[in-house]
Symmetry: C2
Subunit: 243 residues, 2 copies
DNA sequence: CTGCTTCTGTTCGCCACCGAACATTCGCGT
DNA sequence: ACGCGAATGTTCGGTGGCGAACAGAAGCAG
């Protein structure tokens, strides 16, 4: 069902008006995104932006002592490299492929040029950025107030939404890095979810069996973020039809 | 020394080129910002944006159960109401005056019009927004990994930087709300700082006595955010001179 | 099939922070 | 100058997550 090679797989690309599409599509390169690939490192200048089609990318901060925490997750609803059009050129975060797949790559300068035309792409990108801000802010709150159990549910749901699937390929170790907790904590939380029959997992393969109950178990943070994405990017939901 | 009525007190306003200034300054209203004032509530449509001159405003998320956490702090380096030009019109957060003072208020539409001219103001606002994103992301990481002691230091420093002063008017109860921790936790952390001779406080009045040691005690989060603000908004540091 | 690596499960002591309850002290208003 | 409310100080048991160490189990390579 997934057609990674179709730019419309990415909601932002799909929502572009015809002229913008004609300008940009010829420059899009479909690139494979292997698990663990680092798209950019903290402070590095960005050469390209990426529009995920079938992959998921995590934005995470890595601290001096090596501890890390995910601050947002980007899938086919978004773009990697907002610092380019925001004007900063770099950010202090790392972008890491969290779920393998494909993405469309575009030279940074081309994106900036199109952004500066102040057309639909600019509006799309700014609204997307606002949604991303919401996700980061909610992550901050969630880190402060919620248990690992709740955060795991939130994280699974956010990731699944970006894959249009009920399965993830992801070890508990990696999830722990994303959440910024110990691997054992994830094992325990995931164990509870499995015995409750909400998910099934085995050696890096996670399947969601009962999504409604998973949502019920997540903290409000998931719903807040989802609602805000839907509000800010409504036409992207069925962007293909607008094409 | 502080001249709240001078728009140049705000770094963004100060950095505007002459033409933009001529368009906007006549519409600026100096308004008092009393402690505890709520500039906007989660989900409310914004009518105005605010350019703080001598006040500090906290952006915070309030959860269903009443728990809260600050996600960013805005002073005279910034603006309240980025959702207006980002296109979302609202955000799920609350803006609360954390330190009384004054700000310049501008009708939302006027700001949007000026933003859409794609001139210097647009660049300034986007870069400021990126700096704000950094602050939120760092808050998320800090909430995950650092102790209340460290976070208190970070918070004091961020606040002081926005007041150009070594004194704050702020009870421990309010600080606790901002940090999303218990008041007792703040009492304890502040007590340590006081016995170490780094600060002095008494009934809502906090004075920093030894800033270098306070910085040494803060987590890296403070430095990361400060560095990023300086990098993204360098000309704002002495915006007055550019006028 | 064998052995090795990777992933997952489990345990233990430890500590920061929580929630609640209560004591104290300061300073403002009248 | 007195009294009340707000701000700060202190204590206690409880607990969620940490750090470390190790044991089983599932898949892959040869």
């Amino acid at each position: 069902m997934l057609k990674p090679a179709d730019p419309h797989q990415n909601h932002i690309l799909a929502a572009l008006p015809a002229e913008a599409r004609e300008r940009l599509y010829p420059h899009l390169e479909l690139v494979p995104m292997p698990l663990g690939d680092v798209l950019y490192e903290s402070g590095n200048r960005l050469r390209h932006v990426y529009f995920p089609s079938t992959c998921i990318v995590s934005l995470l901060y890595v601290m001096e002592d090596g501890a890390s925490a995910e601050i947002a997750v980007v899938g086919n609803e978004g773009i990697i490299g907002i610092a380019l059009f925001m004007g900063g050129e770099t950010t202090p975060s790392r972008a890491l492929v969290q779920s393998a797949g494909h993405a469309f790559r575009l030279k940074g300068q081309l994106l900036k040029d199109e952004f500066n035309r102040s057309g639909e792409l600019q509006h799309l990108l700014l609204r997307y950025t606002q949604a991303l801000i919401t996700q980061m802010a909610q992550t901050a709150v969630c880190n402060r107030h919620h248990s690992v159990d709740q955060q795991l549910c939130r994280w699974l749901l956010l990731s699944l939404d970006r894959l249009s699937s009920d399965r993830l390929t992801m070890t508990q170790e990696l999830i722990a890095n994303m959440l910024g907790v110990r691997r054992e904590g994830v094992t325990e939380a995931a164990g509870k979810l499995q015995s409750a029959g909400l998910i099934h997992y085995s050696r890096g393969r996670i399947t969601v069996l009962d999504r409604p109950r998973l949502e019920a178990r997540a903290c409000e943070c998931y719903a807040v973020v989802k609602k805000e994405f839907d509000r800010l990017l409504p036409h992207l939901v069925d962007g293909r039809k607008r094409a």
